[in-house]
Point group: C2
Chain length 277, copies 2
């Protein structure tokens, strides 16, 4: 009886971002899951399977939120590892999974890795100055939840930066397919920095706020990858910046910047075109 | 001419926390530095040298803040990698180094890794609810800087958690040795959760604040290591909790906790003794 579930953080980009410690846990596992609902890597599952020399069971939204029972049951007798993009604890889902495992007498080991929550510092803003992190969901017709906007305002009032995590839609179904019980899923959608800014402007307008367009911000794409892109400037200038493929993140600067932070704003200025490493 | 300096994040604990991507950069490097001023691993440099099969040049405070020139000069003709505990961008020092390298025409590549700034979520508090991060410095006689206390108050007013990074003194000299120019250094000092809480109480008293002792908090030690310890409870209960060796971190909870967060407070309660994994 091993009674251990190991949550292995995969980091930000591809199979080479796993740690040696993580790789050892993966190689030692009898069963390997991949949680691919809250985030995605820049590589597909086949490539991970080849690299880890092991078949991977995909754990999607239904699985993790609804019925991770099978995984936890398996962990009672087998060595089970669950791969998580980024760091295992940076998504709420996994805290819940942790507690459920403990309830079943399964010990959970966590192998940490880079998360966008800390790697965002690559833009040059000081990490300790970030306030509450917000998530910007896709507006959908009349459904326009704007609670993220109030949190951004609060951070700015406290002279803090704000990391905005942008929505990901994986394994979504059309209403028609859902009603008919068709097992057909839409292609994944990843919110761009541009869409995030458009929605931010909409939220500001709903609140009657002006001056939002001139807030300094950073757009980040594929942080940590060889083709990482970072661009900075007032929101209105970033509105049409092309950062390429997913994943994108948006950072709104605090009203006051330190000297080093200001230098990074200049370094990555959209006026000098988008910077890739 | 390679003109590339690679900053390699080492993660939280030992040589096995480096990523495959990081290991490749280290193996390919002609010269290898280790920055050991802003944080330290739980292993010594010899062990890193054996694992990486390469000699390591130690870059301490003087080196990184004063004269990283040699490293940057070397990067103009050789492949230079600089190892950084945690994630390269989580300390201000490295943003500065990044800019200086760019000024010299040296491209900087960054290999991200886990940082305490994100791994702190292991305590079960939701990472997105953390406000500004504070650093608690060792009080030294009459020198009692308490600006950290105001930031904690601000976070609590905004219903945010606060991560407190605890002071590390590496390569410090006594005034006598400094005056005499003796190259003798004091043993490293790492602030414990207990000292941090004592200083916090002192800061509160200076402000005439009451009720601080009942604030819920988490003490964390050696996050991500096999002997990681996490303990929770009101500050007064954590005051004498024994979390073992360094590194320690302290987290003050927001006044209101979510249901899952409350469960983690119970799980790690000091009343049930200190928890190690």
């Amino acid at each position: 009886m091993s009674m251990v579930l190991t949550l292995v953080g995969l980091g930000l980009n591809d199979e080479r971002d796993v740690s040696i410690r993580g790789l050892e846990a993966i190689r030692a596992a009898d069963i390997l899951y991949l949680e691919n609902y809250t985030a995605t890597l820049n590589v597909d599952t086949n490539r991970l399977e080849r690299f880890f020399e092991k078949p991977i069971i995909l754990a999607d939204r239904d699985f993790v939120e609804g019925s991770a029972e099978a995984m936890l049951e398996a962990a009672k007798t087998k060595r089970v590892a669950c791969l998580v993009v980024g760091d295992p604890f940076c998504a709420t889902t996994h805290s819940d999974l942790y507690l459920r495992a403990r309830d079943k007498g399964v010990t959970v080991k966590v192998i940490h890795n880079a998360s966008i929550m800390s790697a965002v510092a690559a833009c040059g803003l000081q990490l300790y100055r970030f306030g509450e992190t917000v998530s910007i969901p896709f507006f959908d017709g009349g459904w326009k939840p704007v609670s993220f906007y109030e949190k951004i305002q609060k951070n700015r009032e406290n002279n803090m930066h704000t990391l905005c995590l942008l929505d990901i839609k994986v394994k979504e179904q059309t209403v028609e397919n859902l009603m008919k019980g068709n097992n057909i899923f839409e292609p994944p959608r990843f919110m761009t920095v541009n869409t995030a800014i458009r929605q931010l402007f909409e939220a500001a307008e709903m609140q009657g706020d002006e001056g939002v367009a001139s807030i300094l911000a950073f757009g980040l794409a594929r942080v940590g990858a060889d083709d990482q892109a970072i661009v900075s400037g007032p929101l209105q200038e970033l509105l049409n910046a092309d950062l390429g493929g997913p994943l994108h993140s948006l950072v709104l600067c605090a009203p006051e910047l330190h000297e080093i932070e200001q230098k990074f704003v200049s370094l990555y200025s959209a006026r000098n075109s988008v910077h890739t490493e």
